[in-house]
Structures are given as structure tokens and as C-alpha cells.
């Protein structure tokens, strides 16, 4: 059939059968879970496939790591298409161009797809209605849609979408389909059950770890203990003697998005890739056993004496000087305003390097067959992976097929694909499908890490307690330099300014200055849940309480005053005060601390009640308010706030990554500890009603949690925590 140019981009008629990995719903009890299903049917646009039996398949372009995209993005389509999500099959997109950007990151999935996916759903619905109206010879206005049917309002006759899809696909694509108003939503805007949950309680959900292919080999990796490094020599004799072991090979680990050489740009010297040794075996257990028997002599390439202590000393020294200024945070003349202040306050805050430590360690299964590449992996962005693999392997993008599985957590870690490239490298070498599985030790010792940061804060106040000047100097590694090799010696890392720029932090200071001093971390650093907001908001919101204490003002009142021109912030704070009974008189030793931050387009405030113990303090309760615009699934929004409370508190009171002599000091969960059942405070979470466009949900709950806790600790004990993590039981 003939298609016009304008239609070609949008309208895709699929007449051939395609096979895809059906995630999470296999009924095969043997666990060989690569169930293949046919998607034969008509695709009116890339996200929606309807076959003539009426089966609707919706494509989710944002991989799910637990944040809920598997439900909410298809629901954007289903809402406008007028079909209950329970009636559709959900599949993940495969990284191909027609789906656009497919990266789950920056809490951006709904924000960026809110209009495009709804438009896609509304477009198809309108074409189906037109097809029905044509058949009935009535006006489209005399038609309605419900539950996958077009209904003739005059005769009450109805036609299923399956009966109409072929005709609809020949119609012109409407250019301005009408989107529903919030009031017209039947699925969005109320608590709803996530469709992935049943498969996650009976063991059938397929994670990357669970992928099995015929003839597949397993690989374990001996990485350079200094992360960067080259193999000088190795002895594989003992490893080769382990039954099942097929190969012991040199492989490599590439860092970020190329170029995969040691001369790719700023900060790239010797850091494009590291060498590694792989054991490729018939079972993972034999690969693991053999790995321990390999003797490798490493060349640390000069990274053998790096240490986080040294890094922090450099950052503290840099903090004595103003860094490269952020234009989006500049107000007035800070130096002058500070000079005119009656009270001057300073505080230097330190946040540690962190590992993401998702429950599912990095793993990937790749089969390279000549110039054809197929991948099964838990990754945050299949389109980015296609790009990286094409460059790395020198194959055409269209020859690469990505099967995205569920991720057993990611928190930013699985947005880079070093572990997938390793599997590709090995599959190419051994000419078989290879599943690479990192151990927990690989995960914790190899990075990339959230950068540790030093925040040097300065503030000035007048006699009446008004803040006149406010400065935040960020000192530390640049994620942008690490990932994209950008030169940050003379520029502020733009991501590092998030959460504390004027849009995210509209405190009405008459003078304000944020700046950034780049420090070379000598290790790969990466986004970690909420990126730099997880560190700089700790400093800023703690320092707000230091200013309040200096002039004996109530911390809530100080914030309400400085945010008086930002009604959404005020509303969140007032709601927080209400649900936490903030102004209640509390007994001696019991205190409430607060913090507020906007990140990823949503505002979250926490209040934490702590009680002083004989030694240390105990967290009694966490109260939280989130304004993330129109709440699409309020129950999942609460779940994400709960998640951020736990993830953020773990980072505040449990774990950190330290490195000495070029090596990471922690190796597994006994050293990189996390909060467990019994260590979690009760929480009360309020989701603000809103008619505004949705904001992010997966990360904004994290930044204000640590400062709320430390502010409460200060009020209960008089001790100001400026370095994380700290020990709750001894503070």
C-alpha cells in the first residue's frame, strides 16, 4: 500500500510476524523463560499494536527499575486509547529509533512522555472512531469509546478495536487529536495496581539475571583492583583445570560512552578502558570457582596510590577559593552583602562516595553472530546501548536488537553499559551467547560511584535575623567530565547545580552565589539516585538551620519567610507542619527537624522526629509531603517516597565508599551496610493534590531526607552533623 511522506513517520503497518521477549508472564515452569510471542497485528503507531482479534499491545519506552514506568507509561497510552490497562499486553521497546529516547533517568519518564504518549493514544483512538463512524455512516460526534470498543451512541451498537484497526490504519492521521482533561481520566489520577506486581510475587518476572539461551556460556570477570589498569601477565593453568571451564581470556571494561581509547578527551588519559580477565564456563559456579584460581599481575597505570582521603583534602583546600560561578543561581553582589552583614556563619559539609548497590548485580547476556547482535539485559536505556554497541563493535545500529528485562534495582548504575559491552566482547571472542554476571564484590569495588563532595557554605544576616547573603561552593568530581569527557576546569558542572539553583531553590536571598571547583576523583563517577541533589541539598538545608540557630529563629518560619513568593513551596511546608504537628510542644530530648527541596520538577519536604537516647538518637517518625503535579498513581508516588526515605537514610547513617592505595575498602553488604527491617522509621506521606503537569517521582524524595534528620539531631542534642555518614547510636 502507498503511504504519504507525512504518514510514514507515524503510521506503520506491520504485516509480518515479529518475535519478542515477553517479559514477566511466562508460564513455563522449567524456567527456560524466553517465551516467544507473535505480535502480528497492525501498528498504527510504534507504541500501539492492535491485532484483528482485538488484542492490544502497548510498548513501554522507559525501562522499569522499580519506579513504576512499566505501568504508568502504558497507562498514558491506554487512558487516551480508552482501554483498561488490565486488558493490554505490555512490552518493552527495543532501542530502535522509532521509539525516540528510551532512557529511564533524571525522573524524566512521565515528564517527557506526558504529552507524546497521550497524543499517540488519542490519535489512534480518533482513527478508530473515524473508521467506526464511516462504517455506520454517522458523525464521529455520535460515537464514544469505552473498554476497547467504539460505541454508536444512536443505536448502542458497538465495534471492537480489533474489528476496526485495519480500516483505521488506512485513514489520514489526525494532526491535532483531542486530549482528555484531567476530569475525564478514568485510569490516571487514582491509586491503581501495578501490572508487574503479580509476576514479582510468584517468581515469574524475568530479570536480566534470569535470561537463559540455548548454548549459553557463563562468564565471571577478574577486574583490575585499581579499577583502571592493564594486565601484565596472568596464569590460567589452575582455572582451566576446573571442570566446565571453556576459556580464560583477556577482555576489557569500557567506561561510559566512548571513545573507547585512552586518548578520548579531557580526563580520559588511561581511562577509556581497563583490561580484565574473563573465565567463560558451562556453569556460573565453575566460572566463579575458577576466577579465584587465576593469578594476575596488574599494571595500575599510576592509580595504585589514589585515596579518597587525599581527594577530600584537595577538595577542602579548593573550597577556600571561589569556584566557577553558576549563572542560574546568581543574585546581587554576594561579597558586598556579606561584608555588610552583622552576623557571619560558615559551615563545611562532606558527603561520601557511594555505590548504587542495586539488589541485582550487573549482568548481561549477549550473542554476537557476525554483524548481528542481540542483547538481553537489565539496563536503563536500550537506545543508548544501541549507540554504544554500534560504536564499540563497529556494527550497524539496525543490526542490534535489545531485549530489556526488568531491572532488580538500578538507581543510575544501569544507565551505563560497561557490563553489557563486556558480554559483547566475550561473545564475539567465543562465538556463543555469553552471560556475564558481576559479583557483589565487583559491584561495590569497581564503581562507578556517586562522587564525594565538599560543600563550603557561607551566610550573612542582619541584626533582625534577615538573611542577606548566601554562598554555596561545591568542590569535587564532575559527573559530566567523567561520562562525557567535558573539561570542567573552567566550568561549573551543570548537574551539580541542580537542586540549589534559583528555580529549584527560590529562597529570596538578596545576594547569592553558587560555584564549583573541579577535583579529579581518579575513579569513574556517575549519577546516583537524585544525582548531586543528594549531596548539595544536604549542605544547603543543614546550613539553613545553622542560620536559623544563629539568630534564634524557628527553622520553619525562616524558610516560610524566605519562600514567601513561592506559593507551592509554602503550601508544601504548611501541609508538612500540619501532618507532623510541627508546632506541638515536645518533651525534653524529642525534636523535629525539617528540610525542603525541589528536584526533577517536584517539591518534597520531610519532617523527622528524633528522640535522644542514653547514647545517640532514635528516629521516631518521618513525615513527608510531595508536590509532583497531577498525581498519576498516588499509591506509587507514596511508594517512591518511602523508597527514597530508606535509600537516603541508608546513605546518611550506614554506608560509604572509601578507597586507599587505589582500592575500594568495602566489598560486600557486611562492609557496605544498608538499613534492614527493624531499622526503618514509621512514615506518613501526603501527596499534594494538583492540576499541574506531572513532575518527577523516582528521585525527589531523596535530597531532603538527610538534612531533615541532621536538623532534628541538632535540635535534640546540640550536635551539628556536617559529615555523612554518621552513627545514630553514638551521636
Amino acid at each position: 500500500m502507498k503511504t504519504s511522506t507525512s504518514r510514514r513517520d507515524f503510521l506503520r503497518i506491520s504485516t509480518t510476524s515479529a518475535f519478542v521477549l515477553a517479559l514477566g508472564f511466562s508460564s513455563d515452569s522449567k524456567g527456560k523463560l524466553l517465551k516467544k510471542v507473535s505480535t502480528t497485528g497492525v501498528q498504527i503507531n510504534p507504541y500501539i499494536n492492535i491485532n484483528e482479534a482485538g488484542k492490544v499491545t502497548l510498548f513501554n519506552p522507559r525501562p522499569d527499575m522499580g519506579q513504576g514506568t512499566y505501568q504508568i507509561l502504558p497507562m498514558l497510552l491506554a487512558e487516551e486509547l480508552d482501554i483498561p490497562l488490565e486488558q493490554v499486553e505490555i512490552q518493552m521497546t527495543d532501542g530502535s529509533d522509532r521509539f525516540g529516547s528510551q532512557l529511564s533517568g533524571g525522573s524524566s519518564s512521565v515528564r517527557t512522555r506526558w504529552i507524546p504518549l497521550r497524543t499517540a493514544g488519542a490519535t489512534v483512538r480518533e482513527m478508530l472512531v473515524q473508521a467506526a463512524a464511516n462504517r455506520w455512516k454517522i458523525s464521529m460526534n455520535d460515537c464514544s469509546t469505552k473498554d476497547g470498543f467504539v460505541i454508536n451512541k444512536l443505536s448502542q451498537a458497538k465495534l471492537s478495536y480489533g474489528e476496526l484497526v485495519e480500516e483505521a490504519s488506512h485513514l489520514p492521521v489526525p494532526t491535532k487529536p483531542k486530549l482528555k482533561s484531567f476530569a475525564e481520566f478514568t485510569q490516571l489520577g487514582k491509586p491503581s495496581m501495578r501490572p508487574d506486581v503479580p509476576a514479582k510475587v510468584d517468581g515469574t518476572a524475568i530479570f536480566g539475571m534470569d535470561v537463559q539461551l540455548p548454548g549459553m556460556l557463563y562468564a565471571s570477570i577478574v577486574h583490575s583492583p585499581t579499577i583502571y589498569g592493564k594486565v601484565q601477565s596472568y596464569d590460567a593453568t589452575k582455572a582451566m583445570a576446573v571442570k566446565g571451564v571453556r576459556f580464560v581470556l583477556k577482555t576489557e571494561r569500557v567506561f561510559f560512552h566512548g571513545p573507547y581509547s585512552d586518548s578520548g578527551g579531557f580526563d580520559q588519559k588511561l581511562r577509556g578502558k581497563a583490561e580484565a580477565i574473563a573465565v567463560v564456563s558451562e556453569s556460573y559456579w565453575s566460572a566463579l570457582k575458577a576466577k579465584k584460581l587465576i593469578q594476575v599481575s596488574w599494571n595500575a597505570l599510576g592509580f595504585g596510590e589514589t585515596a579518597t582521603e587525599q581527594y577530600f583534602n584537595q577538595a577542602k583546600a579548593a573550597a577556600l577559593h571561589e569556584g566557577n560561578e553558576y549563572k542560574d543561581a546568581k543574585v546581587g553582589d554576594f561579597a558586598k552583602a556579606l561584608q555588610l552583614s552583622d552576623y557571619k556563619v560558615q559551615g563545611t559539609y562532606q558527603t561520601p562516595f557511594m555505590s548504587h548497590a542495586p539488589m541485582e548485580p550487573c549482568n548481561a547476556t549477549v550473542f554476537v553472530q557476525g554483524d548481528q547482535v542481540e542483547v538481553w539485559a537489565p539496563i536503563q536505556g536500550p537506545d543508548g546501548l544501541v549507540n554504544d554497541l554500534a560504536t564499540y563493535l563497529g556494527v550497524k545500529r539496525e543490526n542490534i536488537k535489545i531485549n530489556v528485562t526488568f531491572m532488580g534495582g538500578a538507581f543510575g548504575r544501569k544507565a551505563v553499559f560497561d557490563f553489557v559491552m563486556q558480554a559483547a566482547n566475550l561473545s564475539k571472542q567465543v562465538n556463543a551467547p555469553v552471560k556475564v554476571i558481576w559479583t557483589r564484590e565487583d559491584d561495590i569495588q569497581q564503581g562507578p560511584y556517586r562522587p564525594g563532595m565538599i560543600s563550603a557554605m557561607q551566610g550573612g544576616l542582619d541584626k533582625d535575623g534577615n538573611v542577606l547573603a548566601f554562598e554555596h561552593r561545591l568542590n569535587g568530581a564532575s559527573i559530566m567530565a567523567s561520562i562525557f569527557k567535558a573539561d570542567m576546569r573552567n566550568n561549573p558542572d551543570p548537574w551539580a547545580g541542580e537542586g540549589i539553583n534559583l528555580e529549584d531553590s527560590p529562597y529570596a536571598f538578596p545576594a547569592r552565589r553558587n560555584s564549583f571547583n573541579w577535583i579529579d576523583p581518579q575513579m569513574p563517577v556517575l549519577w546516583w539516585r537524585s544525582v548531586y541533589a543528594s549531596t548539595n541539598v544536604f549542605a544547603q538545608e543543614s546550613f539553613m538551620d545553622e542560620l536559623a540557630a544563629e539568630v534564634e529563629k524557628d527553622p520553619l518560619d525562616l524558610r516560610l519567610h524566605l519562600l514567601r513568593d513561592s506559593p507551592k513551596f509554602v503550601a508544601v511546608l504548611n501541609k508538612l507542619a500540619e501532618i507532623s504537628d510541627y508546632r506541638a510542644k515536645r518533651k525534653q530530648g524529642v525534636s523535629i527537624g525539617i528540610a525542603i527541596a525541589r528536584s526533577f520538577a517536584s517539591i518534597v519536604a520531610h519532617a523527622i522526629v528524633v528522640e535522644k537516647q542514653k547514647a545517640g538518637v532514635k528516629i521516631k517518625h518521618v513525615y513527608s509531603v510531595i508536590d509532583c503535579g497531577f498525581p498519576l498513581n498516588p499509591d506509587n508516588i507514596k511508594a517512591q517516597v518511602e523508597s527514597n526515605i530508606v535509600y537516603g537514610l541508608s546513605a546518611a547513617v550506614c554506608n560509604q565508599i572509601t578507597r586507599t592505595h587505589g582500592k575500594t575498602d568495602q566489598s560486600n553488604f557486611h562492609e557496605y551496610t544498608v538499613l534492614r527491617q527493624g531499622e526503618i522509621p514509621a512514615s506518613t506521606i501526603f501527596v499534594m493534590p494538583s492540576q499541574e503537569e506531572p513532575g518527577g517521582v523516582g528521585e525527589p524524595g531523596l535530597p531532603p531526607i538527610a538534612p531533615a534528620l541532621c536538623n532534628a539531631v541538632f535540635l535534640a542534642t546540640g550536635k551539628r552533623v556536617r559529615t555523612l555518614p554518621f552513627d545514630l547510636s553514638s551521636i
Binding site: 522449567k30 503479580p198 518476572a205 538507581f411 511508594a639 534492614r676
Partner: protein, 159 residues
């Protein structure tokens, strides 16, 4: 390699593996039940929890040679028919899982707790569930779900 006889989810399996192979990899890679997960390999995280004669164990650090053919091993796939165990139903009702990776282990640990203690206190839950890490932080919902499963089991018994 040696032959071992195992009873997993009421079915007998003969497996030919090295004697030091952890039960985890036998269940996943040889028998094919992938609901049991690898998380840390050292018994710290609980993602690999299965039931051995009704009690939770860490399959990642249980060599296959330590098991008897009569030992009853239960994985998440064998906990119930069609996910109808009260703990699984409570888990769905409370929308507990996020990423879901640790949940097989959590559910098995919770089911073992309720089998031995039908009305657990918060402290009992803390103790029984302390070995299972959840990085998504679903702890509060798990606690609620355990309490509601306990109520459900009790009301079923009464009626």
C-alpha cells in the same frame, strides 16, 4: 561431578554437579527455577532465600552435598498454586514490590515466620526479616502485608 537427588517444590530431581555447588545455582541454572535470586553470594542479603523443611536458608551458601534426598526444598515457584499463599496475596494487596528482585526471598522468609508464629509482633517481624535486604526500601509495606496475611490466616482457620 556427582549425582545428587533433591526434592524441590515436591518434585524429585537428579542433578549432576560438583559437590561444592551452592543450592542457588543448582536451582537456577540446572533445575531452572529462576525466582530464587543471586544478590551477594555470602548470605548477607537474603535474595537467595529458600525454605529447607520449612525454614528459611541462604541457598547461595548451602552446598548441594549437605542436602538429603528427603529434604523438602521450597522455592517461590513452589510456595503455592497460582500465587494464592496468603503472604503472596497480601503482598499484591499492599503493592509491596518495586524492583521485585528481593521479593521471592522476602516472601519465603515471611511465610516461614507465619508458619511458626501465626500472630507475630513488630519485633518478631524485625527479627525474622532482618536477614533480607531490600534496596528499594519496601520494608514498611512488607510489615503491613505480614500483619494482614496473619489476620487472613487466622480468620480462615476460624471459619
Amino acid at each position: 561431578m556427582s549425582i545428587y537427588q533433591l526434592t524441590v517444590n515436591k518434585k524429585k530431581h537428579r542433578v549432576d554437579v560438583d559437590s561444592d555447588t551452592p543450592l542457588l545455582w543448582v536451582i537456577r541454572d540446572v533445575i531452572g527455577y529462576t525466582g530464587t535470586k543471586f544478590g551477594c553470594g555470602m548470605g548477607f542479603c537474603g535474595a537467595c532465600t529458600v525454605l529447607l523443611n520449612g525454614s528459611p536458608i541462604r541457598s547461595c551458601s548451602t552446598p548441594v552435598s549437605t542436602l538429603k534426598p528427603t529434604d523438602k526444598i521450597t522455592t517461590i515457584e513452589g510456595l503455592s498454586e497460582k500465587a494464592t499463599h496468603p503472604v503472596q496475596e497480601a503482598w499484591v494487596e499492599a503493592q509491596v514490590p518495586q524492583c521485585g528482585y528481593c521479593q521471592s526471598g522476602q516472601i519465603l522468609a515471611a511465610s516461614a515466620l507465619l508458619a511458626s508464629n501465626p500472630n507475630p509482633s513488630d519485633e518478631d517481624i524485625d527479627t525474622a526479616m532482618a536477614g533480607n535486604i531490600c534496596r528499594c526500601g519496601t520494608y514498611t509495606r512488607m510489615r503491613q502485608a505480614i500483619h494482614s496475611a496473619a489476620k487472613k490466616i487466622q480468620s480462615t482457620k476460624k471459619s
